[in-house]
Symmetry: C2
């Protein structure tokens, strides 16, 4: 079978494939550019199954590279641009990457990360000059004779990617806990995910996806792969910017966008009272349990939010709420995609347990990590490490990462439950609850809060507020007021980092909380003034 881009370019050559900055490319133009780049990669010795790491910002060149690597059957290894050179070096070594393609913004890190890996060749985007096409040649694709284009289509028939079980990419998990693992995703994983998503969200002829997540995470990459299968254009943003997102809604007739909660909050804030255009038909909301106040705010404003639960290891969406259920099942991540099975591993006394999945979207293995693979797939099911439950109608509710669960005096506390209460408080912009080590209870909840400008909040008031809505053991023992919360590149909050910071600053080597230190990092007095 031809590769997906070749098939798409054959089917709808003149439709727009990609908008980036002020430029746009049709599928025919994108295909020609990819042919060109694939030839250059080939000339540098990149071939089928070669693992090629990419350290780049979002750009049209990144999209071209994704397709060019697929065309020659190489395996894409996208690298998170926020990592340190050390971390990158570890990942490159771990998957035996043979090449690293980097852009100007990342050249220093690339040099540092690769200096001691002798068998790896770094390639700059400038070296691959063809990647940044001279602006004037773009138009010339349109003038190319049709015969020329048909020839290029025929040449693509010999693409090595005829087996959907071939590896497409290794994506390091963006998981907020533990050692990074490389999820090995196949073409079949992506294909089934795209189909499952389409069966849930529908396929409209005028669909336009906005991509404002990093391409090195599955949430961004999946949109590029879906678009080539569906044939819809992608509006690509270099980075998330709430104003730019709103402009894309209003001016580019975007119909679907993927966001995480923090992004959505900012988009809503930036939008103010202006209604969303009717063309926008779905905001896929992923990246962890969605705060209830945010969902309610969207429901009130008629914003078409569709909650989803996704994983790198399952090529993005695992379960997604059907748009028609969005209001009736507020807070649920819906049902598993077609082709995905999901169950909860729980004991008799509690319906909450670990979410297990299997099916055509689930990766076969972690690259070069048989032990992690075996552990994750014990019993034939992939263990997600996330906690959730199914309601009577089989709808999934995701509560927390298992590692984020707080156990206090033998009671299970889900951070999201407390966060939902705090987020509904008018003074709080965003709250995150972690489990702090506690000599008496094992753990107690501690709340990190970002407060709204000009609105005061203090710990005592918030405790009293919580006491009205939560059982006593769920009331945070401490409140830490901060300016920002630590996040990874896709916007997920790094809970583990907060928990570690708390421990580092407040707990001595005997495990006893040091109250003096705690006071020092707690700017409560200032904020509540």
């Amino acid at each position: 079978m031809q590769d997906w881009l070749a098939q798409r370019a054959m089917r709808s050559p003149e439709r727009v494939a990609l908008f980036f900055r002020d430029a746009q490319w049709t599928w025919r133009e994108l295909d020609a550019r990819v042919n060109h780049v694939a030839a250059q990669l080939d000339a540098r010795g990149i071939s089928q199954n070669t693992r090629v790491a990419v350290l780049m910002q979002n750009s049209d060149a990144y999209v071209v590279l994704v397709h060019a690597l697929a065309r020659i059957g190489a395996v894409l290894v996208p690298i998170n641009t926020r990592l340190t050179a050390n971390e990158i070096e570890w990942q490159l070594n771990h998957v035996h990457a043979r090449f690293l393609i980097y852009d100007n913004a990342n050249s220093a890190t690339a040099a540092q990360a690769t200096q001691s890996i002798s068998e790896l060749r770094p390639i700059s985007l400038d070296e691959l000059q063809s990647l940044t096409f001279p602006p004037n040649t773009k138009q010339s694709f349109n003038r190319k004779s049709k015969i020329e284009n048909r020839k290029s289509e025929i040449s693509n028939l010999q693409s090595p990617v005829s087996n959907l079980d071939s590896p497409h990419a290794i994506l390091f998990t963006s998981g907020t806990t533990g050692k990074s693992k490389g999820a090995m995703l196949t073409y079949a994983n992506h294909w089934w995910n795209a189909m499952g998503s389409a069966l849930n969200l529908g396929l409209h002829d005028d669909d336009v996806w906005l991509l404002c997540m990093p391409l090195f995470h599955i949430g961004g990459l999946a949109i590029v792969l879906r678009s080539v299968i569906y044939g819809n254009p992608v509006v690509l943003h270099e980075a998330f910017d709430a104003g730019a997102v709103n402009r894309a809604f209003d001016e580019q007739r975007v119909t679907i966008v993927s966001l995480v909660s923090t992004m959505l909050r900012r988009v809503l804030d930036a939008r103010g009272e202006k209604p969303f255009p009717e063309t926008l038909r779905a905001i896929l909301l992923g990246g962890g349990p969605a705060p209830k106040d945010l969902l309610e705010r969207c429901a009130e404003k008629n914003v078409p939010v569709v909650q989803t639960y996704g994983l790198t290891e399952a090529a993005s969406q695992v379960a997604t709420l059907a748009p028609s259920d969005a209001l009736r099942k507020l807070g649920s991540a819906g049902k598993p995609l077609f082709g995905v099975e999901l169950k909860i591993e729980h004991d008799a006394r509690d319906k909450v347990g670990e979410i297990l999945i299997r099916g055509a979207t689930v990766m076969q293995e972690y690259a070069e990590d048989a032990q992690a693979t075996q552990r994750a797939f014990r019993g034939g099911w992939f263990h997600t490490g996330d906690l959730g439950y199914l309601d009577d109608e089989g709808y999934l509710y995701v509560l927390a990462r298992r590692n984020d669960l707080i156990v206090s005096g033998g009671e299970n506390i889900y951070p999201a439950e407390i966060e939902n209460v705090l987020n509904a408080h008018p003074a709080i912009l965003e709250a995150v609850v972690i489990g702090a080590q506690d000599a008496e209870w094992g753990q107690t909840p501690v709340a990190y809060c970002v407060v709204r400008e000009k609105i005061s909040a203090n710990a005592d008031e918030l405790k009293m507020y919580c006491a009205e809505k939560l059982a006593r053991y769920k009331i945070p023992s401490e409140f830490v007021f901060v300016e920002n919360l630590p996040r990874n590149a896709s916007g997920k909050i790094l809970r583990r980092e907060l928990a570690e910071q708390w421990t580092r600053m407040n707990v001595d080597e005997r495990g006893i909380t040091n109250y003096k230190t705690r006071a020092r990092i707690n700017p409560e007095a200032n904020n509540s003034a």
Copy 2:
């Protein structure tokens, strides 16, 4: 993986799955009914890979049976109800069917067809009483507790159909020529066809498919399988009726229907001047090259016709025009579905040649016919036996079955070209052109015409009319005026039968046309009076 119906019932239990006569069933109800029937089939010894022939009219029970056989992994062998007992017996023997399920309308034929096959057990629909559910129990599904229904879902997890490469059905080709062959279709063939179709036509939440073709042909069966994957309801008709089709458009918000040309003509005639509702978004027009006058008539009236080229061996659609190309590429069958490759086997001097295909929708083999399989797949491509060409933009135009090609004095004549001219004549309701044996030219075109009531037509006038539009060698040498044209069950014209009839009545054993005999069957004088 669970079977498709179980997955669908889990995802959208309360949505309507099927409308038949005055009744309707939700996915949950259909699933429960299928569970019941699957248990009964199981009790009769039908299990994985058992080949079960079905000789029934379209009905809700037929749909239930299709899903019940899939649930236990048995192979469906749908039998054309228009066949003679002898022909059916041959098919049952050919595929070693172990069971034949028949309804009352077909009981006599079933008895006759099976009387000498000792290893086959006939089962009447009445014997499988559960198939025709007592009307009052239908409602009781709604009252079933949710817990009961969840139990039934869990039981379905163990479905044997976890491998998409398992055989789903053997469909005898409805080909109008040669010996019947049993196309062995897998779940994967159907799945890819459903996906390819969705990628072309889109998936809308409010889609309703009208099924008015026989379920024993791929065109009908494919709609049932698509519906369970997409989750859209099917409006099932017992048989084609132009008035009923129009009522379904107006009253049941049908969005998509599959028709062949003759059906579409009748629907247009029955509709008169009444516009089609806006809810109708696609009329998939298959069953052979579409007459140009019909397409033009639809374009004028804004009827959303989408031409398609389909084959039993490729699980229905092979190529379909995108709705957005419908007017620009009038007469084309569009581009191959995603996942299907298509090429034309032609020599240098002619762009027309045999249509070859390969890909995920194409069957692996003809059941019990290694020779036919080998012949069809020579060179790794499936040879369709149809003639066509690709235009400069890669759009497919289907001209004729290879066997219908008329070669006259070394010139190739495509019947459709002449038929398009004749069909545009006001006196002609429908025309079919066959190749008649001719001592001088090898073959010459002969036109069979159905004329409109009250409008006269005679051969001389029609010849003059053709002379204005066609090269001399394409002008039919004879016109035969008939009341009806012979068709198979899906409405395709049986050209071979006409050609055989012509030969039988007009050509003697030396191959010389007998003019006296010809006059006898040519009612021209009467019709042109």
